[in-house]
Structures are given as structure tokens and as C-alpha cells.
């Protein structure tokens, strides 16, 4: 395109230059030629005039008329009116001048006559200045050339403008699409009239769109995995700015719901232990793992931090950030605590009665055996204490059996019948304390399919607890009912109750609210734990509510399989034929 324009411009320039130069040159040649011929004619005329004798006046001579006609001869004085000489100094180079003679542009010269003719002694000879044919052809050609050059330039410019316009129109739609908010942010137009430029861009657009879609998909996939991890993950760059943090981490560290990207980690994580961990990894590039307590419950997290290679800085040294993972170990920790407590409690519980037995035995050995009354007393105590150890060991065995999963013997039995012995025992214990046991029940004859021994153990434990923790004058209420397809057994007391945090831990082994009262009221601390495990083994649930100083209420729910109803249509309308 540009080349063509250049070509046309060069063409015009050359032709104009040629024309101008050529014209001048031809002009010069022509002038030179004309002046040479004129000089020759002038010399010839002078010679011929000088060679003959002329009549007087010379103008009447017919030969003169002929010469006059041919050469436009004129006789002029040597000195003109002003006194200036009309003849040049050198006869060889006579003065040539252009003049308009009889309305014709002529080259004229004046030569002196050797023999004066009449009064004059010089002749003027002239020659017509008319371009010859060569010149004419040249001028025509040159004009045509110039016109053609101009025409070509105009045409070329118009063609160029049109083609540019059509390109611009094609790209206009494309430009508009990049400014809109499309999913594919580049518009690929299939209908391009003008090939090359726009179609190349269309191809680019297609490729870019494809990569963009693929990248977005990959990003979404990894984000999905990342955000659904149960472990918390956070990455920090070499400057301490957060690169990413998943949802689990925000939840575990109880971070506020703000965007954390590119903020210094100290702003985001204020827990001192974790902040120090991150700072340490960033400075020393070591891997660290630590248990961290969070919050007031507290929750326990296992936090691991390791260095994260982040490429090289501009000066070539390796940059390293930190990658932090956090796992919730609260449950594990709590189990550990329970286990520790259990071992400590068990040994303590066993040691006390053992010490007492030993003391009594030693005393007997030292001589108390002689005193009959004292000896009987002591021996009675030894037996009581051994019973205590026995019930403790029994309880622990029972618990471990239940936890391991003993074989349960499912059979149908009557609920009230099974409850009777437990109620009797509870009433016996209650009467010595001055506590009343009241039973309210629904209709009798309620049958349940379950393990009878387990059921009795559960009820027995709940009842004995209720009586044990109710002061004199209080009541223990037992209620059985059927709710839907579950049997509901409620044991409520008006006893000392427990606080909310004790209630949460009530079903733990050996857990007793207000640890100071360990052996005052008797009991092993295992009762509720046994109740919980047995109930779960029977497929039921146990729940408790309590208010300090007002009392507690324990509810057992056991599943009761519904007896089939014979009158019911097994295939109600519409089920068998789903039309």
C-alpha cells in the first residue's frame, strides 16, 4: 500500500522534473540553433548586399524585395536617434535580441554593411521564434504524463481510504465487545468480509477465550477442594502477607468475616502462639509443629508450619514464605483428659478403701483383736470396705463390657414388671433418708422388646442417683409413657441439681460435680456412664436437664417396634399402580 503511493509520488515527481529540465534544455538548444542561423543569415545577407550594386533606392530593387521577404530585412542607421550604436563591436558576434516586430516575436540582429547603402549602413535581420515539431511533441507528452500522474495519485488515495474504512468497520464490532462484560471477553466474529487482519484477531480471540475458560475451570476446581477441607490451611509470603486462607481456617481460628488477602498476618491472626510460629518459620525457615489453645472453652488445635518456597527475588536469592495447617484436636484432647482422669480416679477410688482395710487389719493385729466388741466393729468395717471395692470393680467391669459391646439378649418383657425390683430397692433406700418415691405410669401391660438386665441396670442406676442426691423431704418421681414408637422413662428428683457445665460432663466416667463430695454420698461415679453406654447399646437415647438447688430430670427413650395393624390396607390406593 505504502509502496504504491510512493511509486505514484515518484512517478509524478520524475515526470515533472523531466518536463521542466527537458523544456529548458530544448529551449536552449532551439535558441542556440536559432541564433546561429540568424548570424548565418545576417552574414549571408550582408555579403550578398555588399557583393552587388544596388539601385537607388535599394528598396525598389526586386532582389531586395525578395530578401526582405525572406529575411525580413530592414535598413537601419548605424547610430540610432539617441546616438547609441546599433551595431555591436565585434562583427563575429553581433548583438541578438528578442523583439516584437509586426506583432511577431522575432530574434533580430543588426549587422554593419561594408559598403553603405544609400544613407544607411546597417541591416537588421530577424528570425521567427516558433517552436518546431519536436518541441511540440515533447510538450504534449509531458503534459499527458503529468495529468496521468495526478490522476493515478487521486485514484490510489481513494482506494486506500476505502480499504481502510472497511477494515475499521470490521474491527469496530470487535472493539465494542471487549468493552462489554461478556463471559468470553473477546468476541470472535465468524463473518468477516475482509480477510487477514480481522480474521487473525478473531483467531486470537478464540484461543484466548479457550485458555481463559480452562483456567477458570481449573481455578474453580482447586478452590472447591481447598474450601471444603476440614483442615485449615493458610499461606503467607516472605513479607508476612497472607496469600490465601481457606474457610476451615477462618472457622477454626474464629477469624472475623473480612477479606484477608494480602494483609499482614499479624492483623489477621492475633493468637500469640500462632503468630510466633509463623514469625519463626519466616525467619529461620524451619518446620515447626505445636499444640495451640484457642478461645475460652478452650479448643485445641494442632498447628504445623513449614517454609514455602516462593521463587527468587530480583537479586537472585531464594524467597520463602510459610505454609500453615491447623487441625482441630479438641475431641482427641478431651478423650486424653478423660482417660487420664479415669486412671487417676480409679486408682484413687481403690486406694481409699484399701487403706482403710489395712488400717483396721493392722489395728487388729496390734491387739484390738482381744477386744471383742472393737474387733467385731472393725471386721464389719473391713467387710464394708471390701464391698465397696467390689462394687467399684464390678462397675468398672460392667462399663468396660458395655463399651466393648457385650452380647445383648433381646426378648419381650413387661416394662412395669421389670421396673418393680428397681423401684423396691429405691424405695428402701429412700425411706431411710426421708425421701418419697412416687410412680406415675400410663396403662399397665406395656411390652417392650429389649434386654431386660440392661434395662434394669439403667433404671436402677438412675433411681439410686436420684435418691442419693435428694435431701430429706424431697421426692423422686418415676414416669413411664409411650410417645410415638418410643418408650419414655423419666426419673425426676427435687435434689441438689447440677450446673450447666457439670451437666455436660455428667455422663463421663467417674465424673462427679463438685469433686469434694466424692465419697460422702457413696456411689462410684460410674453410674451415668453405664447408663449412657447401655442405652446406646439398646438403640435408645438418654438426656438430662437440671437446675441447681431445684433438681434434675433424666429421660430414657427406647425404641419400641410398632405392632402391625391388621386392619390397615397394606396397599393404599395409588401405590401399587402409580398411574
Amino acid at each position: 500500500m505504502k509502496n504504491l503511493l510512493l511509486l505514484v509520488a515518484a512517478w509524478s515527481a520524475i515526470s515533472i522534473a523531466l518536463g521542466v529540465i527537458g523544456s529548458f534544455e530544448l529551449n536552449r538548444i532551439w535558441r542556440t540553433q536559432a541564433s546561429e542561423e540568424l548570424v548565418r543569415d545576417a552574414a549571408a545577407a550582408r555579403n550578398s548586399i555588399d557583393a552587388r550594386t544596388w539601385a537607388v533606392p535599394a528598396e525598389s530593387d526586386p532582389a531586395w524585395k525578395r530578401m526582405e521577404k525572406e529575411l525580413r530585412l530592414a535598413v537601419v542607421p548605424v547610430v540610432d536617434a539617441a546616438g547609441a550604436p546599433t551595431v555591436g563591436d565585434a562583427p563575429q558576434s553581433p548583438p541578438l535580441e528578442w523583439a516584437t516586430i509586426e506583432s511577431e516575436h522575432r530574434l533580430s540582429t543588426v549587422v554593419a554593411l561594408d559598403h553603405p547603402l544609400g544613407m544607411a549602413n546597417a541591416i537588421r535581420v530577424t528570425r521567427l521564434a516558433a517552436p518546431n515539431s519536436a518541441q511540440r511533441v515533447w510538450w504534449i507528452a509531458w503534459s499527458l504524463l503529468n495529468i496521468s500522474a495526478v490522476a493515478m495519485t487521486l485514484y490510489g488515495a481513494r482506494w486506500l481510504r476505502e480499504s481502510l474504512n472497511s477494515q475499521r468497520q470490521n474491527l469496530q464490532a470487535w472493539v465494542e465487545s471487549t468493552q462489554s462484560e461478556n463471559e468470553d471477553f473477546l468476541l470472535a466474529d465468524a463473518e468477516i468480509e475482509e480477510p487477514s487482519l480481522a480474521s487473525a484477531m478473531s483467531l486470537i480471540a478464540n484461543n484466548v477465550n479457550k485458555s481463559h475458560r480452562r483456567l477458570k475451570l481449573a481455578k474453580e476446581r482447586s478452590e472447591l477442594v481447598f474450601d471444603n477441607l476440614r483442615e485449615g490451611v493458610m499461606a503467607v509470603d516472605h513479607g508476612g502477607k497472607v496469600l490465601l486462607a481457606n474457610r476451615a481456617l477462618v472457622r477454626l481460628l474464629k477469624l472475623p468475616d473480612e477479606d484477608v488477602l494480602y494483609r499482614p498476618f499479624l492483623e489477621v491472626v492475633r493468637t500469640p502462639a500462632i503468630a510466633e510460629l509463623i514469625a519463626s518459620v519466616l525467619t529461620h525457615r524451619s518446620t515447626l509443629e505445636q499444640e495451640v489453645e484457642i478461645g475460652t472453652q478452650p479448643n485445641y488445635l494442632r498447628v504445623a508450619a513449614s517454609p514455602l518456597p516462593l521463587g527468587k527475588s530480583s537479586s537472585g536469592e531464594a524467597r520463602s514464605g510459610a505454609l500453615i495447617t491447623a487441625r482441630d484436636e479438641t475431641y482427641v484432647k478431651r478423650v486424653e483428659l478423660i482417660r487420664r482422669d479415669f486412671v487417676a480416679n480409679a486408682s484413687h477410688e481403690l486406694r481409699t478403701p484399701l487403706a482403710a482395710i489395712r488400717a483396721y487389719a493392722e489395728t487388729l493385729q496390734l491387739g484390738a483383736i482381744e477386744d471383742r466388741e472393737a474387733a467385731e466393729n472393725f471386721i464389719g468395717n473391713i467387710i464394708t470396705q471390701s464391698d465397696r471395692i467390689d462394687s467399684l470393680v464390678q462397675g468398672m467391669l460392667q462399663l468396660s463390657r458395655v463399651e466393648v459391646g457385650i452380647a445383648l439378649d433381646f426378648a419381650e418383657f413387661d416394662v412395669l414388671a421389670a421396673l418393680e425390683p428397681c423401684l423396691a430397692a429405691a424405695e428402701a433406700m429412700a425411706s431411710t433418708k426421708g425421701v418419697e418415691v412416687i410412680k406415675t405410669e400410663v396403662t399397665g401391660g406395656v411390652q417392650i422388646r429389649s434386654d431386660r438386665d440392661a434395662f434394669q441396670t439403667i433404671a436402677g442406676n438412675l433411681l439410686s442417683n436420684a435418691v442419693r442426691y435428694t435431701p430429706a423431704g424431697g421426692t423422686v418421681r418415676v414416669k413411664t409413657s409411650i410417645v410415638g414408637d418410643t418408650l419414655r422413662v423419666e426419673v425426676c428428683d427435687t435434689g441438689i441439681g447440677m450446673r450447666q457445665q457439670d451437666l455436660e460432663r455428667a455422663f463421663e466416667r467417674f465424673y462427679r460435680a463438685e469433686k469434694a463430695r466424692s465419697s460422702d454420698t457413696g456411689g462410684t461415679g460410674l453410674g451415668l456412664s453405664i447408663v449412657k453406654h447401655l442405652t446406646q447399646a439398646l438403640g435408645g437415647t438418654v438426656s438430662a436437664t437440671s437446675k441447681p438447688h431445684e433438681g434434675s430430670s433424666f429421660v430414657i427413650q427406647l425404641p419400641m417396634p410398632q405392632p402391625p395393624n391388621i386392619d390397615e390396607d397394606p396397599f393404599p390406593e395409588g401405590v401399587a399402580n402409580p398411574e
Partner: protein, 220 residues
């Protein structure tokens, strides 16, 4: 702002954040020591308080140095003064937490004394207020700051109820000393909440340039 001022501010800011983390942890531990009657936790908290005091002095010195050297103006000045005030409030909160820990060790032996459940709730709320006010500072979140200011009434009411219950228990059980320790702890917790409110007000000043202290009637 000059580069030096910027660097110094950032450093002081990070120190303040680190301090705030430690103080938040202190309060949690102190409350736990009180409720669980954990004496080792209580002495941990009391020892921490000394460190906090030292850090508070360091931060204050740094801030004063910045004021003298760089003479900041406008937003930078507000930020610097707010940091100094929050630093001060955090140190007071740490002292109060230490006080709670001391009461916890007093109550160590009184295992029969029933600490009111409401005290636990009050403590949880106070801790939440401290954490939220610091979050508001970090995120320049005015709405959160106002929420903290509004929560103070609830804590005050809970304090009154705790005192009532303690009075009743004192009457019933004639257990004057533990009740007084508990009462002192409750007051300290209520004062922690007040300081959290101070921090929130400072944050509002830093962001808006308006002091909202003593004007709570019309902040809704």
C-alpha cells in the same frame, strides 16, 4: 507521609497487634482459672502481666519518639494517638485480668462455693467485646465498633444481677470471703468490658475524626 514514618508506624502497629493477642489470651486464661479453679493457670496469668507492662512502656516510648521525630499530621496523627490510647487500654485490661486471676487463686480452696453461672456468661461477653473492638481497629470497621459500644449495657446489667445473687448467697451460706472475691472478679470483668468500649470509641475517632465519648445517647 515519609518512608521512615511509614516504617515506624508499621512496626509499632505490629507490636500493638502482638500485644493485643497476648492480652486476649490472658483474659481467657484468667476466666478459665476462675471457673475451673485452676491455680497453675492463675499464676501463669499473673506472671504474664509483668511482661505486658514492659511491652506497653516500649510501645509508648516508640510512639512518643515518632511524634517528636516525624511530627505527623491529620490521619497519621490520629492513627498514632489512637495506637497510644489502645496501648494504654490494653495494659489496663491486662491488669484487670491479672486481678481476676488473683481472685481465682483466692477461691482455689473454696470448692463448695457456687460461682454464679451468670459470671461465666458475663466473661464470655466481655471477651467477645475485647476481640471485636480489636477487630474493628484492625479492619477499620465502624459498625463493629458501634456494636461493641452498644453491648456494654448488657454487661452492666449482668454485673448487677451477679452482685445480687452473690448477696443472696452470702446471706444463705454465710460465706462472706469467697463471695467478696467473686464480687471483685465480677467488677473486674465489667471494667474489662468498659475498656473494650474505650477501644471501640478510639477506633471511631481514628476513622471519622469525631470523638464519640460521653455521647452514647444518640449514636444509633
Amino acid at each position: 507521609m515519609s518512608r521512615h514514618l511509614k516504617n515506624d508506624l508499621e512496626e509499632a502497629y505490629h507490636r500493638l497487634l502482638s500485644l493485643s493477642g497476648k492480652v486476649e489470651e490472658m483474659i481467657s486464661k484468667a476466666i478459665r482459672a476462675l471457673i475451673d479453679r485452676n491455680s497453675s493457670l492463675a499464676s501463669e496469668v499473673i506472671n504474664l502481666d509483668e511482661d505486658i507492662d514492659q511491652i506497653e512502656v516500649q510501645i509508648e516510648e516508640e510512639c512518643l519518639k515518632m511524634l517528636a521525630l516525624h511530627q505527623p499530621v491529620a490521619a497519621d496523627l490520629r492513627r498514632l494517638t489512637t495506637m497510644m490510647k489502645i496501648n494504654n487500654d490494653l495494659e489496663r485490661i491486662a491488669d484487670l485480668a491479672s486481678n481476676v486471676a488473683e481472685r481465682a487463686s483466692d477461691l482455689q480452696s473454696e470448692t463448695d462455693f457456687p460461682i454464679p453461672d451468670l459470671l461465666n456468661d458475663m466473661a464470655t461477653e466481655s471477651i467477645r467485646m475485647v476481640r471485636d473492638s480489636l477487630n474493628a481497629f484492625v479492619n477499620l470497621d465502624i459498625d463493629l465498633a458501634y456494636t461493641v459500644i452498644r453491648s456494654d449495657d448488657a454487661v452492666d446489667q449482668m454485673n448487677v444481677r451477679v452482685i445480687d445473687e452473690l448477696g443472696r448467697i452470702m446471706h444463705e451460706k454465710a460465706a462472706a470471703e469467697p463471695a467478696i472475691s467473686c464480687f471483685s472478679a465480677s467488677r473486674s470483668i465489667e471494667q474489662i468490658a468498659d475498656h473494650a468500649v474505650n477501644v471501640a470509641e478510639d477506633v471511631i475517632y481514628m476513622v471519622n475524626g469525631v470523638i464519640v465519648r460521653h455521647r452514647h445517647g444518640g449514636t444509633d
